[in-house]
Amino acid sequence: MFRDRRPFFPLFPLKSIQSSIAFAFSVLILLTIAATSLIAYRLSVNSVESNSKGYIKEVINQVNTNIQSYVDNMENISLLAMTNKDVKYYISSNSFIGDDERRPYEKRISDLFQAILYTRKDIASIMVFGYNGRFVSDRRITTLNPNAKVEEQAWYKDAQREGGKSVISAPHVQNIIQDEYRWVVSLSRELKNSDGLTADGIFLVDLNMSVINDLLSQINLGKKGYVFIVDQSGNIVYHPQQQLIYSNLRSEKIAEVEQAQSGTTFKVEDDEGKRFYTVQDTSFGWKIVGVAYAGDLIGYKSTLINFLLITLGGVAISLVISVMLSHRLSRPIRNLQRNMRKVEKGNFDVQAEVTQMNEIGQLARTFNMMVGQIKNLMQEIVDTHENKRKSELQLLQAQINPHFLYNTLDSIVWMAETKQHEEVVLMTSALAKLFRASITKDQELVPIRIEAEHITNYLLIQKMRYSSKLDYRLEIPDSIMGYKTLKILLQPFVENAIYHGIRNKPGIGTIVVRGMDTEDGIVFEVEDDGLGMTEEQLEKIWQAPDNGEWRGGGIGISNVNERIQLYFGQAYGISIRSELAEGTVVTIRIPKIEGTGGAV
C-alpha cells in the first residue's frame, strides 16, 4: 500500500508502474499543452498586436482629422479674408483709401474678424498686416509689442516666401501683441492684389495651442502611450516630453518616423520596452505619431495572464488526472502483487479478483488457476505422506501381528513339548529371520531375493503350523532376483490366502508364489486353490479400512495397492481373480528397478 503514497512527481528511477504511467502521461500532456498554448499564444499575441495597431491607427487618424479640421478652418478663414473686399482695399498698395477713410474700414474688418472669433473658440487671433504699414486685428484697439518686429517673425517671412500659399507654423509663443504671450499655431498667407501678381500684405490666423494640446493629451494609448508631432524637416512640433528631449534626457525615434510611410506602424524594442509607432501624414506637412507600449495594451496583458492561467490550470488538472488514471490502471496489478506476496508467505487460499477481461484480468485468472493447482498439489503431497505413514504403520503392525506371534510361539512351545527339536530350531530361526527382515526399517525397497527369503520364512512357519493343510511352492526365477521390490509386499497376500482361502478348506491347500519377468515389469502372482470368493466378497475386500483400524487377519488389499501406486505410480498395482471353490489369484505388478543387489 505504501506505493500509493508516492509523490506525485516521480523521480527517476521509477519504481512502480503507476509512477511510470503517471510520468509518461504527464510528459505527454505537458508537451501537448505546451505546444498548443505556445501556438495559441503566438496567434493571439499576433491578433492582439494587429488589433492594437489598428486601434492606434484609428486614433491617430482621428487626431489627424481633428487637427486637419482646425487647419481647414483656419484656411477657410484666410480665404474669407482674402476674398473680402474691405481687406483688399484696406491693404491695397495703390491706396485709394485715404487716412480719413481708414477708420470705417478698420472697424468693418475688425467686426468681421470678431464675428468669426465669436463662433470659433479655438482661434486665438486674426490679423492682417498690409505691406503699406496698415494692420487690423480682431480687437478694436491693438497695440503691437514695440519690441517684436512683425517682419522678423517666422510666420511672416515664411508666408512671404511661399507667395500666396498658406503656411502652418510650429507651435510658438505669439508675442506681437503687447502683453500677450500665447502659445499658438499660426496659419499665415500672403494676400495678393486683385491682379494676382503683386502682394499686399500678410494674413495671420492663430490657433490656440491649448486646443491641440487638449486633443493630444486626451488620447488614451494605454498608461504610457502618447502622441507626438514632427514637421517635414524632422523638428518636433509637439511632444509631451519636449523639454526632456531638448535637454537630451530622452530621445525620440525621429529618423525612423521620417522614413516611415503614412499609415504604417513600426515596432521599436529597446530598454524602454516594446512599443509601436504609428505614423500618419497630414496634408500640411506634419507627421502625427502615436506611440503605444506593448505591455500597456489591455488585450496584451490579459492574453498573457489568460494563457498562463489556462496552461497552469490545464497542467494541474491533467496531472491530477494522469496520477488518478495511472493509479486506476495499475490498481489490478498492485492487487495481484499483493496477492502474490500473500502466496509468498504461504497463504494459498488467496483468490485474485478478476474485474476486467483484459491482459491483467487474464493474468489474474491464470494466477488464480496456478494458486489452485499449487494448493491441490500441496494437498496431495500432504495426503501421500499421510498415507505412506499409515501404510508403514500397518505394515509394521502386520509384521508383528501378535496373533501370528502367539500362535507361532505356541507352536514352538508345542513342538518343544513334543520334543521335535529340529522343528523348533527350524521354526525359531525362521521366525527370527522373519522379524529381522521386518525390523530393518531403513530401506523400503529390497531386492526380490530378500523378499523371496522373507516369504519363504513366513511360509515355512505357516507350513509348520498348518502342516496338514498347507502346501506351497515358490516359483521365482533367479533372473529377477536382482530387481528391487517393496519390502514385505507378498506377505499380506500369502497371509490372506492361508487364513481366508485355505484354513477353512477341507483338505490340503496349495499356495504358489510366482515371479515373472515381463516387458512391462515384474509380475508376482500369489495363487491358492482355496475357497475362492464371490463377486461381492471380491468387491468388499477392495474397500479399504478407512480408519486404518486393524481388522482381524491382514492388511487391506486396497492399502497395499495404494502403497504400490504411491511408490511406483498408477500403472502398477494389484488385480485379483477369484472363483468360488476354485481359488484366488492375486497379481501384483511392479516396475523393473535395477538393484545393486546384496542389500541387508
Binding site: Y181, N213, K224, Q241, S302, L309, G313
Partner: protein
C-alpha cells in the same frame, strides 16, 4: 466501490476547477501592476507659480513613463513652512514608497523629514540646498554654476572689465549664497570687479533704492546681477529712471512675465533660467531608482540656461520661458 471512486475523481476535478477559477480572478485583480506611490512635495502648489507647476509636470511625465502613482502637494505660499510640515506629517501617515520634496528652509520641516527618513520612506530633495541632519539624495539646479553663468554673461557684456553689484534677497538664503559664490568665481579674475552683495528682501522698492544708491556711489558700475525677480524689477526701474538702461547691464535669475518683457525691451541683458520640468522629472526618476535599490549619485545637478533677447524665442527657450498649460 467503482461509483465511490468515480465520485472522488469528480470531486477532485471540480475542486481543481474551483481553485482555478479563484486563482484566475485573483491573479486578474492582482495583475494590474504597480501600486507604488511616490509623493511629491512642492514648495508651492499655487497654479500661478509657473516654476513649481512645471516641476509638477515633469514629475507627472516621469510617473506616467514608469507607471507609478503620484501624489503632488504643496503649500500655497512658498514660505508657508507650517503648512508644509502639516502636509509632511500626512505623508508620514500615508507611507508612500518615496517622497520627492522641495523643502522650505525651516527647522520644523527638517525635523519631519528626519522622521520620514527614519520611517523608511525614500527621500529625494529638490531645488534647495538645505541643512539637514543627514545628507539626502538631491536633485537640484546647480546654483553656483548658474551664478557662474551669470557672471560670465556680465563679463562678456561689459567687454571683460566688469564692475558689478549683486542684488540679493536675504542674507541667509542658501540659493543666493550659492549663486553669489558662482558669480564671484567668474568675476574674481578681473580687477576690482565685485562691488558687493546687497540684500533687498523681496522688495522692489528696496531694490530700486539700492540701485539708485549704487549708481551714485559707484559710477564705474557697469553690471548688476539681480538674484530675485523683485530685485530685477526694482533695478530695471532705477536704471530706466536714471537713463542708464543698456549702459549698466542687468542680469536676472528665473523667469516671469515681467522679466520677459524687460528682456524683450532690452532692459535685461540676460536671464538665467532653470529647468523645472527636468527637476521634477529627474526627482521622480531618482526616487524610483532608490525604490528599486539601484545606485544613484547623491547629487544630481540640472543645468541652467542663459536666455538673451536673441534666443528667447527659440523652440527650446520658448518652452522654458512660457510654460505651456
Amino acid at each position: 466501490m467503482r461509483v465511490q471512486k468515480f465520485t472522488i475523481v469528480l470531486a477532485l476535478v471540480l475542486l481543481a476547477a474551483a481553485l482555478f477559477t479563484v486563482f484566475y480572478f485573483q491573479l486578474y485583480r492582482v495583475g494590474s501592476p504597480n501600486d507604488r506611490t511616490i509623493a511629491v512635495m512642492l514648495k508651492s502648489s499655487n497654479v500661478r507659480s509657473d516654476f513649481w507647476q512645471t516641476v509638477s509636470e515633469g514629475a507627472k511625465a516621469a510617473a506616467k513613463e514608469s507607471g507609478v502613482r503620484l501624489e503632488v502637494m504643496g503649500s500655497l505660499q512658498d514660505t508657508d513652512a507650517a503648512t508644509q510640515v502639516r502636509l509632511l506629517e500626512d505623508v508620514l501617515l500615508r507611507k508612500p514608497e518615496a517622497l520627492v520634496v522641495a523643502p522650505i528652509e525651516d527647522a520644523g520641516v527638517a525635523e519631519v523629514l528626519d522622521r520620514i527618513r527614519e520611517a523608511g520612506i525614500k527621500l529625494v530633495a529638490m531645488d534647495t540646498p538645505m541643512q539637514l541632519d543627514f545628507d539626502p539624495v538631491t536633485v537640484s539646479s546647480d546654483h553656483s554654476e548658474a551664478g557662474r553663468q551669470a557672471g560670465e554673461v556680465a563679463v562678456r557684456e561689459t567687454g571683460e572689465s566688469p564692475h558689478l553689484a549683486v542684488l540679493s534677497d536675504f542674507g541667509t538664503s542658501g540659493v543666493s549664497g550659492e549663486r553669489v559664490k558662482g558669480i564671484r568665481e567668474a568675476t574674481d579674475p578681473y580687477v576690482n570687479s565685485f562691488i558687493g552683495t546687497y540684500p533687498c528682501e523681496n522688495s522692489e522698492d528696496l531694490a530700486y533704492e539700492t540701485t539708485l544708491d549704487l549708481l551714485s556711489s559707484n559710477p564705474e558700475m557697469n553690471a548688476i546681477i539681480a538674484l530675485s525677480e523683485s530685485a530685477a524689477l526694482g533695478a530695471a526701474k532705477a536704471l530706466e529712471d536714471r537713463g542708464k538702461r543698456g549702459e549698466v547691464k542687468l542680469i536676472a535669475f528665473d523667469s516671469s512675465l515681467y522679466e520677459i518683457k524687460l528682456l524683450e525691451e532690452g532692459s535685461l541683458s540676460a536671464i538665467i533660467v532653470q529647468r523645472p520640468f527636468n527637476m521634477g522629472y529627474l526627482g521622480v526618476r531618482t526616487a524610483l531608482k532608490l525604490i528599486d535599490n539601484r545606485t544613484v549619485s547623491r547629487m544630481t545637478y540640472i543645468d541652467s540656461i542663459v536666455v538673451t533677447r536673441d534666443n528667447m524665442y527659440s523652440p527650446e527657450n520658448q518652452k522654458l520661458l512660457f510654460p505651456f498649460r
